[in-house]
């Protein structure tokens, strides 16, 4: 590979890592909002555990992205000093938690997607990325199992729980389309053996989530033309307030440590 092509790929490579890392970070931040507020103590701890897993994954991915980027930015600078348009998380993870049903349904849909992507990345030519995914996959498998259990429990539960999680399916499902849209950067990286195209995971992801939704007696809504664009840096109205809370300390006291 010539140096010029390698340089061209680098930007896409950094972007790819940021998409994964930012999605984990923002979902981790959202889930941590449940800390102290979950319906029962057991689930409070479970959600906090998932949030910590996600933030741990984000740390590894952002650190790696910072090194690759070559501007001397570490995980903290990437997490706490970037502006909204520089975040590459998918839009679904920045949406407010809503009720418990919506929270676990989002965890289910997104974690199933994470699992498919990470499974494909274990053989990446980027050895650091491969190592990160091998470690993260164990956490992801458990988190998926936990979320899937709740989806069935609520969907196949009472009239109230079924109605709430069906509403969550109707609201969140359109945001899954973004994950599978074709992407030129993904294709270039896939050609170099570094990454896999997210769009190639649609089949496996659908096969993974459909039986669970069926067991939960939930109806998958018809497709729409809506496409969210968070991974391109164009976000909805909810990311800004989330970032201002997440970043307030480093913005107020730059470089603060403890």
């Amino acid at each position: 590979m010539s140096v010029a092509i390698a340089d061209d790929l680098r930007a896409a490579h950094v972007d790819y890592l940021l998409r994964l890392g930012d999605s984990a970070l923002i979902l981790g931040q959202r889930l941590s909002e449940w800390c102290g507020h979950a319906p029962v103590l057991e689930e409070d701890l479970a959600l906090a555990n998932v949030a910590l897993d996600l933030i741990g994954q984000a740390r590894l991915l952002l650190s790696h992205a910072g090194v690759l980027e070559g501007h001397g930015r570490d995980e903290d600078q990437l997490a706490f000093l970037r502006a909204e348009r520089e975040f590459r998380n998918v839009t679904m993870v920045e949406l407010p938690n809503g009720d418990f049903a919506r929270t676990v349904l989002r965890n289910f849909l997104f974690t199933a997607f994470q699992r498919e992507v990470m499974t494909g990345l274990q053989g990446s030519a980027d050895a650091a990325l491969a190592a990160i995914t091998v470690k993260s996959l164990k956490e992801t498998r458990y988190n998926l199992e936990h979320a899937a259990g709740w989806v069935v429990r609520l969907g196949d539960g009472t009239d109230e729980s079924h109605a709430r999680i069906q509403r969550a399916v109707d609201e969140l499902w359109p945001y899954t389309e973004e994950w599978f849209a074709p992407d030129a950067g993904d294709e270039a990286l896939a050609g170099a053996g570094i990454a896999l195209c997210w769009s190639n995971t649609r089949g496996a992801w659908t096969d993974a989530v459909t039986p669970v939704l069926e067991a939960a007696t939930l109806v998958i809504p018809a497709g729409t033309a809506f496409r969210s664009t968070g991974r391109l840096g164009v976000h909805g109205e909810h990311l800004g307030p989330l970032l201002s809370e997440m970043q307030v300390l480093q913005r107020t006291y730059p470089g603060a440590t403890w």
């Binding site: 057991e42 701890l45 429990r153």
Partner: protein, 95 residues
Amino acid sequence: MDRREWPLWEVFIRSRNGLDHKHCGSLHAPDARLALQSARDVYTRRQEGTSIWVVRAEHIVASDPDAKAELFDPAADKIYRHPTFYVLPDDVNHM
């Protein structure tokens, strides 16, 4: 709002292979699958375990605390039940 509690489960953790499962606490869960997951999330966050058992608390048959006197006191003066009167050969250690 329905305030019925989820059933209570007792949690037993084996900290290392070769050791016994030990009772470490309890939790509420609506079914066995979630009871195991919650046990993992609540009681093994700091690498406390390699194996988990959960059992519905109502399935544990316990001795009557008021019957302590007749159940356990009679063993107190039967020291011949302890294997302390044997003379061990010097080569047998760690008994």
